[in-house]
Symmetry: C2
Subunit: 353 residues, 2 copies
């Protein structure tokens, strides 16, 4: 997760941008070091799960004032990281940080400023909205939640209709991930303001429908989620939003487990989606695509610390078979959200052309 | 916060409905007792902040397996409660519970089932949406966040326009409170489905604009928030949503500190709002209302464990002066969210008649 430690730690630490309002710690410096401060005067041990890979995180040290402090041994990768504290053997969140749903729990989050963070920054541009919808799901006998990003122009011209990207989170995450950790709405607002894309809608819902939380992935079946997505959510979105409700204007993408879901569902339902994206979520081979004319784009990506060669060669193989495939590798990142923010930024510019 | 303890604790505990997905603890029983379970094998002390009033919360006991458990000494009031853990002197959240922003931090939340919980339950009825908007705020030099509830029929008939309620949270809370803790969208969906109200829009934004987080209320001035609300948010909402953009169709209400803000702003800006609501947030006297003809409704409420007599007598005094004032007292509740859920349920039925 971290790079080689430089000789000297710069003392220019600032509060992480993901801290709870008014909280000073955790802090990050310009080199990517993270520094923590936790009050637990009677505790015997406080360990932060973040740190150099394989070294068991960062052990904090108790000062004379009963406050535990510590700094990562080296700089962290740029971007968003989940973490938690272990206090006397119990797992808790850092009271200074905001929480993000990952690893099937609300974890603490910290942001190491990225050199290219401008593309997901909150800027003074027209902003779209993120709507929480509750859609009826007969197959799961409940109302299910989804979030819908509508671009800034949405609704201004009541006759204008938009393509839709269905965008899935990873294992242990939920439908809040792409907005909270992923900044998907800000990435879209900025791309639209810069004139780099034609606006489209993004729909994000919970993809662990058959409850793989506890059993991990080994009992996973796509059927339950495919029913929710294709038979329940898409008709609801098309009935309630100004969408262009056809295959040519409908994309599906996902990160990690969401990529696996995307692959299964797009291959099962080629008549529903035309643009496919797997973000650190595997690859397609041309042999798996039954009707190549139906596929307008396959986008494959990952971080440079993941299987970049596999993603690149899969895209080459698809291109050789006449399919419009694009690969993207995020430099200096692993299986984490900066990889996926950058992937969305790249993919969005290729969709619905 | 709690009532007299019954002789026997019933062993019918179930997971709180506000637990993180898949988490068994905290649990609640049919009498309103809460039971906690926290893993922290090397800790020397784990205390839950919830418990009988004035007794310092509930001290958990460590078992032979290193797990801390304990049950409140008596039943809790019905409804939502914030709480946290103190582990070896440090304040942390319960890893089993979802988090809610209150007391200027994300706290753990627990729900004691209320006998009347049906009015805020997620039911199989048409659901409105809750939209996150980012509106430009020149006075604070940033884009500010608000949430907008639009009723189920919103947008179906593109020419239909709706009244708007501006609804404020309390001190230490934020714009997420009325949706997360307050279930405002579910209360509205259920009222609309039952035909008890005509649909309206609700707008919720952050009311601690001049940052009273650290200094408490003593340095509070309404000016900064009034500018954001009246000069920035309302014009944005009227420009971007299908509102009826006049005084007769605009209400403001708030809980606790939000009530104080409501009082100040409605008295300062009688030309902007016609319906006022103070929920555990003080009272008006008729002498404070300059132009009584401009006020269509004053709604005053609180819990029966708060100053119910004050709320009732203030409403009587206003009525005596010819103002349409209504008081409501939530039975068996204190300065907590069940009081405010019930108050919204009552107030919504009186607005925009």
């Amino acid at each position: 997760m971290a790079q080689t430690a430089p000789a000297e730690v710069k003392e220019d630490f600032k509060p992480s941008t993901l801290n709870q309002p008014g909280k000073e710690y955790p802090m990050v410096n310009s080199q990517g070091y993270a520094r923590f401060r936790v009050e637990a005067p009677q505790a015997q041990s406080v360990v932060v799960s973040l740190g150099l890979g394989g070294r068991g995180g960062t052990k904090l040290t108790k000062g004379a004032d009963g406050v535990w402090t510590g700094t990562t041994e080296g700089p962290m990768d740029e971007g968003f990281h989940y973490y938690h504290l272990t206090v006397d053997g119990g797992v808790f969140n850092d009271p200074g940080a905001l929480n993000y749903y990952g690893s099937t729990r609300w974890e603490s989050g910290i942001e190491i400023p990225a050199h290219d963070q401008d593309f997901y920054a909150l800027k003074d541009v027209p902003h779209g909205n993120v709507q929480q919808i509750l859609f009826p799901s007969p197959s799961t006998k409940t109302s299910r939640r989804a979030f819908v990003y509508t671009p800034p122009t949405y609704g201004k011209n009541k006759n204008k209709r938009y393509p839709v990207l269905y965008l899935q989170h990873g294992w242990g995450e939920d439908e809040t991930a792409w907005s909270n950790q992923g900044c998907a709405h800000l990435i879209m607002d900025n791309l639209i303001a810069a004139g780099k894309i034609q606006p489209f809608i993004i729909v994000m819902t919970y993809g662990m429908t058959n409850d793989v939380r506890m059993g991990g992935m080994r009992n996973f079946s796509i059927n339950a989620f495919q029913t929710v997505l294709v038979d329940e959510l898409i008709p609801y979105v098309d009935a309630n939003f100004n969408t262009i409700a056809d295959q040519a204007h409908r994309a599906m993408a996902g990160l990690s487990m969401g990529g696996m879901e995307t692959k299964s569902i797009t291959l099962n339902k080629p008549e529903v989606f035309s643009h496919y994206g797997l973000l650190s979520g595997g690859t397609y081979s041309s042999a798996e695509i039954k009707d190549k004319a139906k596929v307008k784009l396959i986008f494959l990506s990952c971080g440079s610390k993941e299987n970049a060669a596999g993603v690149k060669s899969a895209a080459e193989e698809l291109k050789g078979a006449g399919i419009n495939a694009v690969s993207y590798v995020s430099e200096g990142t692993a299986h984490e959200f900066l990889t996926w923010r950058r992937s969305l930024y790249q993919m969005a510019q290729l969709l619905f052309k």
